[in-house]
């Protein structure tokens, strides 16, 4: 099995974890890569911010104005 190590692989896993559980190997690959990759550190922050924004949007749809 190919070990994920490019930014494409790692950012793909960062997106995938919104929809499925990552395996231990995948989680380890993400953490090791992110230690030294500024681009993927930024990408991870973007995914977390977007997760929060989508949650707030969802809640906003149900609140009385």
């Amino acid at each position: 099995m190919k070990i994920p190590n490019s930014c494409r692989d790692i950012s793909g896993l960062l997106l995938a974890r919104e929809d499925r559980s990552l395996s231990v190997g995948e989680r380890l690959a993400v953490r090791v890569h992110i230690l030294t990759c500024r681009a993927c550190q930024r990408f991870e922050k973007q995914t977390l911010l977007l997760r929060g924004a989508l949650r707030q949007w969802r809640e906003h749809q149900q609140r009385d104005d």
Binding site: S6, E18, D19, Q46, L49, L50, Q56, H60, D64
Partner: protein, 197 residues
Amino acid sequence: MTPESQPAIDPSALGRQIEALRPTLLRLARLQLRNPAWAEDAVSETVLAVLQGASSFRGGAQFKTWVVGILKHKVLDQLRQRAREPAAPEPADAGADELDARVYKQDGHFRELPDRWADPCNELQREQFFAVLEACLEHLPNRQGRVFLMREWLEIDSAAICQELGIAPTNLWIQLHRARLRLRECLQSNWFGAHAR
């Protein structure tokens, strides 16, 4: 009638309240279903259910929360019903390779360092951001938009979406991956990038 047993909605105001909510209900249903006729059906079913159930609404939740909750069930009913019908062919996602090439170099590393994003949900900007977010969601290809909103608006887990739509998990994950990448790119262009300048 004791005060405890009185309905939380004034029957004379009910029609007005539903009418005021209708544009929001229609917008949400269209966003999820990607088909104006299906969305109209889901909203009509919702209004019917609200009228039939209004006497049982006790006001523990906000009226809008209650109605949108009903809409979500009706939208899911539509998705189930349409999943059983022979699907009209949808165009293949022709832009997927171009999207990948815009984000990554051939060696798999990012073409550009991703921007620092500021929290878009502060009090002053929230409404504007949500409008841009919805515009970006509308621009997703139909199939991607449908599954993405099943995850993020209807809050259905991946296994249940596969079951509802009769698709394989790998197919779903590809659709969701592309939707998330497109949404990120659209928000970068129309919100985060625009606000950084």
